[in-house]
């Protein structure tokens, strides 16, 4: 089993007609993802490489029965796109777009929670989600992931998500689902959402978690692991040596006043029984040891 998405998931691409949307939508379809529709208010009735385009998400859902959407809309339009997806009947929204204002994110996170509690948003500013061999939504290169199991991956960083998939593939370890939650201040899906889903998934036997400096998401995840996760976890937190007060690319990756440091996060994770590696390779090796002992 996979979490959130699998071979039966039908996906709509909001922004399929754009450069990024058509490119990654095409790659996702090639991978085997059920890419069933795109949306564009003025291009209804056209198609992108055979995938029909509808005027709105509601119409696309009506016509195709899609339950997931992937957003490749430029940042200024993401707030409206997320709400259009939720109101149109989508249950799993993946927002790839980076550079979305934090106030928009805080607003639609709370709006969804209130008016559409059954909708799960992933992102914005994330690489997406892949259930290897079944479904790939977003910008992850599908062939760096080995299908099967027993490992579930959740990561806050894009390239380190790929790194994690690749480390496991090199060791011939399969992955049930890999979720890139993104590094923005208000991620739609949290570490805890993914940990809970992996814990409930019988095919996932172990979990790899890639964190990053800034915020307190890793500390909250550690607390959750301690109390609710029975499966073994390996982890890596990027930014051990990042100087305080410097913003390192991601909106999320900033250390202020000694809070949110990698050391504090690693300590919290170790305290929760997580095997913590000092670099991505070490975290992969730790996971290989865990898998060998399963």
């Amino acid at each position: 089993m996979a979490i959130f998405v699998d071979e039966n998931t039908k996906v709509i691409y909001q922004g399929l007609t754009g450069r990024q949307g058509s490119y990654y939508g095409g790659l996702n379809a090639e991978y085997g993802t059920q890419v069933v529709a795109g949306t564009h208010p003025k291009k209804a009735g056209t198609d992108v490489n055979g995938v029909p385009v509808y005027a709105s998400v509601a119409e696309a859902v009506e016509a195709t029965g899609a339950t997931a959407s992937c957003i490749f809309i430029p940042a200024p339009g993401v707030k409206d796109a997320v709400m259009e997806a939720a109101e149109g009947g989508i249950k799993f929204i993946v927002a790839i777009t980076e550079g979305v204002p934090a106030h928009d994110e805080a607003w639609f996170f709370n709006k969804l929670k209130r008016d559409h509690p059954d909708v799960q948003l992933l992102g914005p500013n994330c690489p997406g989600i892949i259930s290897p061999g079944k479904c790939n939504i977003g910008i992850t290169a599908g062939h760096i992931a080995k299908p099967g199991g027993p490992v579930g991956i959740v990561s806050r960083s894009g390239t380190l998500t790929y790194q994690a998939l690749y480390e496991l593939q090199q060791k011939d370890i399969g992955v049930t689902t890999c979720v890139g939650i993104g590094g923005d201040p208000v991620p739609g899906t949290s570490f805890i959402d993914c940990l809970a889903a992996f814990e409930a998934d019988p095919e996932t036997k172990a979990i790899m978690m890639i964190g990053e400096i800034g915020g307190s998401a890793e500390e909250e995840a550690a607390e959750y692991i301690k109390n609710h996760v029975t499966k073994p976890v390996s982890s890596y937190v990027a930014g051990v040596t990042a100087p305080p007060g410097k913003k390192m690319g991601h909106a999320g990756a900033i250390v202020s006043g000694g809070k949110g440091t990698a050391d504090a996060k690693m300590e919290a994770l170790r305290d929760a029984g997580v095997k913590v590696g000092l670099n991505p390779t070490e975290a992969g090796e730790l996971m290989a040891e865990i898998v060998a002992g399963l």
């Binding site: 940042a75 204002p101 934090a102 106030h103 690489p127 390239t159 380190l160 990042a242 990756a253």
Partner: protein
Amino acid sequence: MDLFEYQGKQFFAQYGMPISAGEVVFSVDEALAAAERLGTPVMVKSQVLTGGRGKLGGIKFAPDMDAVREHATNILGLDIKGHIVERLWIEAASDIAEEYYMSFTLDRAAKKHLGMLSAEGGMDIEEVAASTPEKISKIWVDPVDGLTDEVAAQWVDGANLNPDAREGAIAIAKQLYASYTEGDADLVEINPLILTPEGKVHVLDSKVTLDVNAEFRHADYAQFDETQTRDEREEAAHAKGLQYVGLDGTVGVIANGAGLAMSTLDVINQVGGKPANFLDIGGGANADVMSSALQVINDDKNVKSIFINIFGGITRGEEVANGILEAMKRVKIDSPIVIRLDGTNADEGRAILAPELNDMLMMETTMLDAARKASELAAG
């Protein structure tokens, strides 16, 4: 993007908050002219993007023109935590009865906006939070609801301010929240917010951080960006659209993705090296981006070796390899380069690089080995 105090005050003023009359100046003569127009007494305040100015002599009260001259002379050029004072804010002095603290920022754990208000203003709020947390009145505002009159009043009442300050504080709370949300700020802070002997509530300082992701809907952000203080390297990288942060080591770093770039710094430190910078070139690694990145790194005189750490996802190894080789033709590099190329079609990429390798261009298969090599080269 952090604003200077005077910019923050101008930002607040757009939302109706009461600020003092003042002028920004760059010289002693300008300071005197400003004080003449404003009328003494005035405050002479250094404008630097760091806290603790007052304790380090960066803020002075000037009762007369002689004092303005003296303080302006002393403060201009002053080094405040590595920031050299180039501009002053000359402001009409205020009489202070009481000092408060008020702010809004995002509580990432709660995913709501957090308002903090305290009757113990004028000092380090983190110290108040640590030693006497009960003296901070907190509210969590759901962005969908916004700050209602009722909640604003409850918040202010919870802080036990002087009753004379109640109405003024409620009004400013609403204006501050509006500036925070409508202005797309990550942080808005007033410390101190003062009560004057006449019973007026007034903004005496400002700390504002704007969310650059929202620049598309704020034409006024451009004027703030112009005055950002970046070191020369950061300025050059910013102009080329690169995500760059200058550090003080000797190993230049180029990586794709913020996480991988941070991870690269970690690994260099682990093997005993010192990174010279953080540089994220994003998802792709084509010749244009790579040239810009190499140019910025090469111009850093502290750099003794360069570590290019690329993980090919969608971008294939051969594209990355060709991008690096093309960039090296365009930019003359003074330091040896160590490349670690992994991921999609890494073997093909490595095969393209193999014939070009020499003592100025080296390749290692793992991040750790490449970091070791680059650190050894930097150490000489």
